[in-house]
């Protein structure tokens, strides 16, 4: 199998030299030092490894890097623009939508993927889109709230 020699991550073309079957997660974390993307299960069940590929949420743990060569990959590190947090990152802080924080990057990427294709999702649409992301600390209701805040559909934020 041919090796992959470059990847477009967060708007930059990065040189790599890696077997195309290697998971995108391993390449991001262990070869490119982009450790914001997390390992949780290795079988696309928990979503801790979620990144955007051409703007669409994808599970990097089951994505062979060969499949995303030439595509635009966005990780949690690439969401902040010029020191400005993405509205969903800001909303996660506002809604206190995290406890241990380990699922948070994957949650934010999955939510960002949802908002990019559906800027005003209903509550049911949020739950459906996010249902493959696991938060073991149980912050789900606040994550829904954060997505609603970011999409401008939140009715109120608990103070």
């Amino acid at each position: 199998m041919a090796n992959i020699t470059s990847l477009s991550v967060n708007g930059k073309k990065l040189p790599v030299n890696i077997d195309s079957q290697t998971s995108l997660l391993t390449v991001l974390r262990d070869y490119l030092n982009l450790t914001g993307t997390k390992y949780g299960c290795g079988e696309s069940q928990c979503g801790a490894c979620t990144v955007l590929v051409d703007g669409v949420a994808a599970r990097s743990c089951v994505t062979p890097v060969g499949k995303v060569a030439g595509k635009q990959i966005t990780t949690i590190e690439g969401l902040e623009k010029d020191g400005q947090l993405h509205p969903l990152q800001q909303a996660f802080i506002e809604a206190d939508a995290m406890q241990c924080g380990y699922c948070t990057p994957g949650m934010i990427m999955a939510g960002a993927g949802l908002l990019s294709k559906n800027p005003k999702p209903s509550r049911d649409e949020i739950v459906k889109a996010m249902d493959r992301n696991v938060c073991r600390c149980g912050t789900y209701l606040r994550i829904v709230k954060a997505i609603e805040i970011a999409s401008g559909t939140a009715k109120e934020v608990r103070k």
């Binding site: 262990d30 949780g40 928990c46 800001q90 206190d96 990057p105 600390c137 209701l141």
Partner: protein
């Protein structure tokens, strides 16, 4: 574990399931060492005895000693350091795993120092920098560590004011602290913390009589200070152990046997060792690999031919018979009260039932991880554990080196829930690093985390009771086999009780879990109470109130019923259930409404109300969220989490086979927080988890007439199809 330790009245439950018994007193910072390390500024020390034992408290009477000349204790439990730069650092052995104590402890210190929260830096869980701590478990941080740090901060403030007054040439009473500056009466002169601490070299023990801010005067505690470091979590910058990378670091893997209690028959590692950069470590049955990159690790792992022998071992289907068969006569639970015989004789109706709970997994989203480095005969291990000092001892013992040669550092960790007390991964990483001569990172896979850590104990609980027709419980006999004694005692006013915990031989490795056995014991007790209410034809809330004298328990039950709208008519096919309880200083009431899909028999929780009272509230939003998180986590153990096993293998050791609560499982949850400013704050990390399972089981009964007495309540295919007998009552 030693048998003498099982008297409940002597040993706290939190220690029952520690897998290793460490020396309780093992203080790294004695007076001499502290003074050697202390460079300057002002330090306020909390004696370890204040945190770990009451026995030594009498020794801490400091009255009559000189203001700056108090005895420094030999054993230090925590300290606050006002550095000459003005930085306020708090040193504690506690660990942050998402429970937000980095925030709440900073609030406590900021409150007493009269400075903003962001001036406080917490140095946590680094065994070379912080004093000994037993670990972060048992909901102890808020009731023990926080008040002691408050005292230290209050004493520091008084010292700073005295010094500032000298510098400002005013009376101490004229000095106020405004925006972290010490100002004189007309604010014409001011000093920063650094101005005051500069050139000082003061070390004090907190005086016994130091006054702390009363709850009604709280301005920082009691408010919803945002999570410290939140921005680093939403940007992915926060570095968990599993994210670390040291120069020259290798990646590690352990070659595991297929099942527990296996022994190695043969292994051929030649092909693996031929791969460039790969080192294979063999030590008894331990087989590990290191390599400079994960691809080489994966190739090496594949090329190792290994054969194991696994003995036959019991499976989940025999579990409950085994736990009873192998149990001890009694391991405490408290002295019997009154007479069961007399209580039964006074009863109009009697009921005997058996309840069971399965093993469940903590499944912290960050699996165990460790980075180990040997340098100049010293071992440093970064790892996510709730017991940094315990893991240090484990490392020293396993690697046969002195504890002084081991440093354990715990980066804020991807959760634990009681599941990260032990140091397996740390030991493995250290062993690999020693063999390869380079730093090694080892991150367990999800399957390893399931199969090679430990579980919440499974258990069997037998309850026999007697009740009068007016709803008064006259006799209560309760036997818990294996799952534990936490909350085995209740706050109900049962006049005749015999409550016993029985140790057993667990076929799986078991240990701490959020709330420990409090979930199991509340499940059995609160379902049984529901059965008794039904037996005498009473409403479940009225029945409980009939047996409650404790006003705090009454308050959470009534608050729950009120917010839930208890007694309102339900839609067809729906049912409501309620439960209440007490553990580790706090009270919980939980009500749930469920519906059951008539075809699939799947349970849907439609809504939940949880009322919680843990004394004075430290951070309302974080408390709300901690309670909500516990309730959400409880959904899994209530409905569908359970470990399947056979012959030493965990059969559902992955997320595709082990169902966790997800977005779609979470109904609207109303949290009612009862703020008791007149009572000390209790820890809130555990107790809110205990009420949901019985509330849901009782709601399922209300909806279907089907009485479920086993956790998880759902089998893989929904509710058990064969209805369990609802009564085994004898009049």
């Amino acid at each position: 574990m030693n048998d003498e330790q099982h008297d409940l009245e002597l040993a706290p439950e939190v220690e029952r399931y520690e897998l290793f018994a460490d020396p309780i007193y093992n203080f790294s910072f004695n007076r001499r060492q502290f003074l050697k390390a202390f460079s300057g500024g002002i330090a306020l020390l909390v004696p370890a005895s204040n945190l770990f034992a009451q026995a030594a408290q009498q020794e801490q009477d400091e009255s009559g000693r000189g203001r700056f000349n108090q005895r420094v204790p030999n054993d230090i439990g925590a300290w606050i350091h006002i550095e000459e730069s003005g930085t306020v650092s708090v040193f504690t052995g506690k660990v942050e795993l998402g429970q937000n104590i980095r925030t709440s402890l900073a609030q406590a210190v900021a409150e007493e120092l009269h400075v903003p929260v962001n001036t406080i830096r917490l140095v946590m869980a680094d065994t070379d920098l912080v004093p000994f701590d037993m670990g972060t478990f048992g909901s102890r941080t808020t009731p023990t560590m926080a008040p002691q740090l408050r005292k230290a901060a209050a004493a520091a403030r008084e010292t700073l004011i005295t010094l500032a007054a000298e510098q400002l040439k005013v009376a101490p009473a004229d000095v106020r602290i405004v925006n972290a500056r010490f100002v004189n009466h007309d604010a014409s002169k001011s000093l920063s913390l650094g101005d005051v601490a500069k050139g000082q070299k003061l070390v004090k023990t907190i005086p016994a009589d130091v006054a702390i801010t009363t709850v009604k005067d709280w301005t920082i505690a009691g408010t919803s200070v945002p999570k410290v470091g939140a921005r680093d979590f939403v940007t992915g910058k926060h570095e968990y152990t599993s994210d670390m990378k040291l120069p020259g670091m290798l990646f590690g893997r352990i070659v595991r046997p297929p099942a527990m209690n296996s022994s190695l028959l043969s292994v051929d590692t030649k092909a693996a060792e031929a791969i460039k950069g790969v080192t294979v470590v063999r030590d008894g049955d331990f087989i590990g690999i290191t390599a400079p990159d994960p691809q080489a690790v994966a190739r090496a792992e594949k090329s190792i031919a290994v054969h194991w022998k696994t003995p036959a071992q019991p499976g989940a289907s025999e579990l409950f018979q085994l736990l009873k068969r192998d149990s001890s006569p009694s391991r405490g639970g408290g002295r019997p009260v009154g007479s069961i015989t007399e209580g039964m004789a006074a009863a109009d109706k009697k009921l005997s039932q058996t309840y069971t709970v399965a093993y469940i997994a903590h499944a912290p989203l960050e699996p165990r991880a460790a980075v180990a480095e040997w340098k100049d005969n010293k071992l440093t291990v970064w790892t996510g554990t709730q017991r940094p000092f315990g893991v240090r001892s484990e490392l020293a013992e396993a690697l046969r080196i002195p504890e002084e040669s081991v440093r354990v550092i715990v980066p804020d960790t991807g959760s634990g829930y009681g599941g990260k007390h032990t140091g397996e991964c740390a030991i493995e990483a250290a062993r690999l690093a020693r063999a390869s001569g380079k730093p090694v990172k080892l991150v367990w896979t999800r399957e390893e985390e399931f199969a090679w850590a430990y579980f919440r104990p499974a258990g069997v609980i037998e309850v026999s009771s007697g009740v009068k027709n007016d709803g008064t419980v006259t006799a209560w006999e309760f036997h818990n086999y294996n799952s534990g004694a936490s909350a085995i005692q209740s706050k109900y006013a049962f006049p005749n009780q015999n409550i016993q915990f029985h140790n057993s031989k667990s076929p799986l490795r078991q240990g701490s879990y959020r709330g420990l056995a409090a979930t199991a014991n509340h499940f059995a007790r609160e379902v049984h109470m529901d059965e008794l209410a039904q037996l005498v034809g009473m409403d479940p809330v009225a029945f409980r109130l009939q047996n409650i004298q404790d006003p705090r328990l009454r308050a959470v039950l009534e608050a729950t019923a009120k917010s839930f709208g208890w007694g309102a008519k339900k839609q067809a096919g729906r049912g409501a259930g309620i439960a209440c309880g007490f553990e580790k200083g706090s009270y919980i009431g939980t009500a749930a409404e469920v519906s059951i899909d008539p075809k699939t028999k799947k349970v849907k929780i439609e809504r939940i109300v949880a009322s919680y009272e843990c004394g004075a509230i430290v951070n309302p939003v974080h408390l709300h969220n901690q309670v909500e998180g516990a309730v959400v986590q409880a959904i899994g153990g209530a409905l569908f989490e359970g470990i399947e096993f056979q012959n030493g293998q965990i059969l559902n050791a992955k997320f595709s086979r082990y169902r966790l609560p997800r977005f779609s499982d979470v109904p609207p949850i109303e949290i009612v927080l009862l703020d008791r400013k007149d009572l000390p704050s209790a820890g809130a990390g555990e107790t809110p988890i205990v009420g949901l399972a019985p509330a849901v089981a009782n709601a399922i009964f209300a909806a279907t007439g089907q009485r479920l007495r086993s956790l998880p309540l759902e089998s893989q295919n929904g509710l058990p199809q064969k209805a369990q007998k609802t009564q085994k009552a004898q009049d």
